[in-house]
Symmetry: C2
Subunit: 469 residues, 2 copies
Amino acid sequence: MNERNFDVTVIGGGPAGEVAAGKLGEAGLSVALVESHLIGGECSYYACMPSKALLRPAEALAEARRVPGAAEAVTGQLDVEAVLRRRDQIVHGLDDSDQVPWLDERNVTVVRGHGVLDGERRVRVGDELLLAERAVVIATGTGAAMPPLPGLSEAAVWTNREATTAASVPERLLIMGGGVVGVELAQAWASLGSKVTLLELFERILVREEPFAGAEVEASLRQLGVDVRTGAEAVRVERRDGTVTIELADGNRVEGDELLVAIGRRALTGDLGLETVKLQPGAPIEVDDGMRVPGRDWLYAIGDVNGRSLLTTHMGKYQARIAAENILGGHARVARPAQGPLAPRVVFTDPQVAAVGHTLESAERTGIAAVAVDHATGGSAGSSFYGRKVAGTTRLVFDADRDVLVGATFVGPDVAEMLHAATIAIVGEVPAARLAHAIPAFPTRNEIWLRLLAKYEQAERPRQLRAAG
Amino acid sequence: MNERNFDVTVIGGGPAGEVAAGKLGEAGLSVALVESHLIGGECSYYACMPSKALLRPAEALAEARRVPGAAEAVTGQLDVEAVLRRRDQIVHGLDDSDQVPWLDERNVTVVRGHGVLDGERRVRVGDELLLAERAVVIATGTGAAMPPLPGLSEAAVWTNREATTAASVPERLLIMGGGVVGVELAQAWASLGSKVTLLELFERILVREEPFAGAEVEASLRQLGVDVRTGAEAVRVERRDGTVTIELADGNRVEGDELLVAIGRRALTGDLGLETVKLQPGAPIEVDDGMRVPGRDWLYAIGDVNGRSLLTTHMGKYQARIAAENILGGHARVARPAQGPLAPRVVFTDPQVAAVGHTLESAERTGIAAVAVDHATGGSAGSSFYGRKVAGTTRLVFDADRDVLVGATFVGPDVAEMLHAATIAIVGEVPAARLAHAIPAFPTRNEIWLRLLAKYEQAERPRQLRAAG
């Protein structure tokens, strides 16, 4: 067996693995980056990027149609072929050769193949053995989770991969799962002409966000013609003569030409040789705040695979920077206030959902003396020009004991860029009294901060506060 | 002469005056609000609001045209009549009756007429004398400044008032002054069909912003067909047979059907009776950080009239809240980091210019150990979907001694909502090292923060820092 020596071996060339490898290479280390499919990972080819590419044209057109004077110029329809062509450009036709020069420049050696741990600091790729002097970084991400449903495995279902790269618009699309993947692709394909049915097991979609977020997105999906069914439990799937049928627990059946399963993610650790270093195959790899696997000072896990915050490329890249800094001898730790499930997250539907930190429910569950204040996202002078008449709520959640912001959820058209202000306030732990001196410009939509902060100032504080005071 | 007693008399019913009166009324004080023209002020009828109304349709359409798949649907043209109708809606047809109920509900008495000080706590309005028990608040704002130019006063020129409310599109529009009013209205009328010539005395437009801001907006105006002339000194104006001609110092002449003069603002204090309380008529009214006129504990001045930050409705409203709190017995002060000329400001052109705090030049002039880092505003994955191929630069300016952000300028399409994150970072004095843990969501355009912070981390520090350390 061939042997090669590197300072660090990174398994998985998605955004997290790429950033870790690049930073280590920049610092002068020799790095092997092992990837079995495409450098760039799920995000670049099968998730955020193509999903946003499918959504954005309809969103831009919807906004133009909401603006008098511009609306009159929109006399044609969305050009489906052009949308799909642009999506293909965005995913580089599933070709990763554009990604490689960036790694080459940083002295990162790309090793094509499936990487498997073979004991401490040892990674096997086919008939080659990579020996890491300093560290191994696992960044293999997640794949679509599949429920153990009779008939499912024979039904040729779509995961996010097929649903983001499909070459044509399915006439009828069934979607199982009303999380971010399900709702984004429901909206994308419905806007491109599919008759979409969205099934969600829980009583609302986007179940981990504020309840109004799911409600407002659901209303918008319905307007687009999506048949949203909440509390819908699938019990059996069958594909016959090209048609997929799902039987529901209540006896109803729904039919489609394709079925996208988007019920969750599973860590891609089943076939990684974890057993050779006494870790549990198939489970997410737990790490400390420095991204190190406890008890194995040479082993790191970053991105989706550590289960901290799923489907958040930005957190994977952040964790990569933390891990790289530590491998280089630093003592970096992820900062607590907006981590894991509290990390910033955006659902690119129309209205969008942009959230960071706690929901009211998660804050209360954590024992925070939470005070939530709500305002219509469109409740500002600036909104007369932008996203007119689109429903949407913004909520800020404060910790009344510490008088700081701990959560924010914006629902509305094109609110994604409004999120970072809340992220800085939360991570910076800027006192609420100080936030009141950060004045949003008139007439921007951010003026809702004024209303929200005024409401917080006047809000009744939870009893805990008085008792503690 | 009739006499009426109030707790507080507010002169001027623009945004600042309205907010002050409203807050004092809510607190239970009796308030008189004196307004000679329209409740709502310059901003609502003749500035930000109609200007944005004229700009937004072309902006929304330009964005739709930049997005493949949406572009194909935009087969018509901007509907000029619809734009003007929408602008008329936005300014409520210059009728302020919608504004009055909000004041009524707060027990604010609207007094129509021209308010003039008549000694301490006394305000005369026609044949009525308003006696204020606690305070008088001056919020009369500014009007367009006129240069002493031969022929100007006979040329029936436009100020911002005529230029924002014009009922039809002038064939040829001359604009004197390349500040925010001049450039917004140059873009607005050019996009609606005018042949616009923009004259700026200095060597660049938007002279108080970062140099790249003016350069990038100028390039965009030129693309739109605007004839931008910098270093252009007007020496004489003449109107004859409907045509306005400006003679320039270099001997050139430019012609138009209308001439908008937008060279600056003057405080509306000439006819306010300031001499009765020993203040200088015609000048801005200087105030302390609590908005009180030094030596006159009963007199406040808020908004444009105090000269602190011009044409910023949001700062006027903020100062109003500060003044109201102090009149109610508080000890409020404006927070220093983003005040006066450092206040947040947005130019709603395409690309927009959104800035807060220092430019590099103003920071250096102030003696700050300034480090500036630049990145293309479109230099992120998120920008592949948004504002594609539009030039624009973002600059952050740090104080390297204190390791905090002190200025930010974003130039790009629709960047206005990106500004508030910088405002919170500056006002919250969030350490740069902490900002690096505030992670922008992927794929939002805010990911440029990552690049900018990484550049700052690697930037050479000014010598002052080393010396001081």
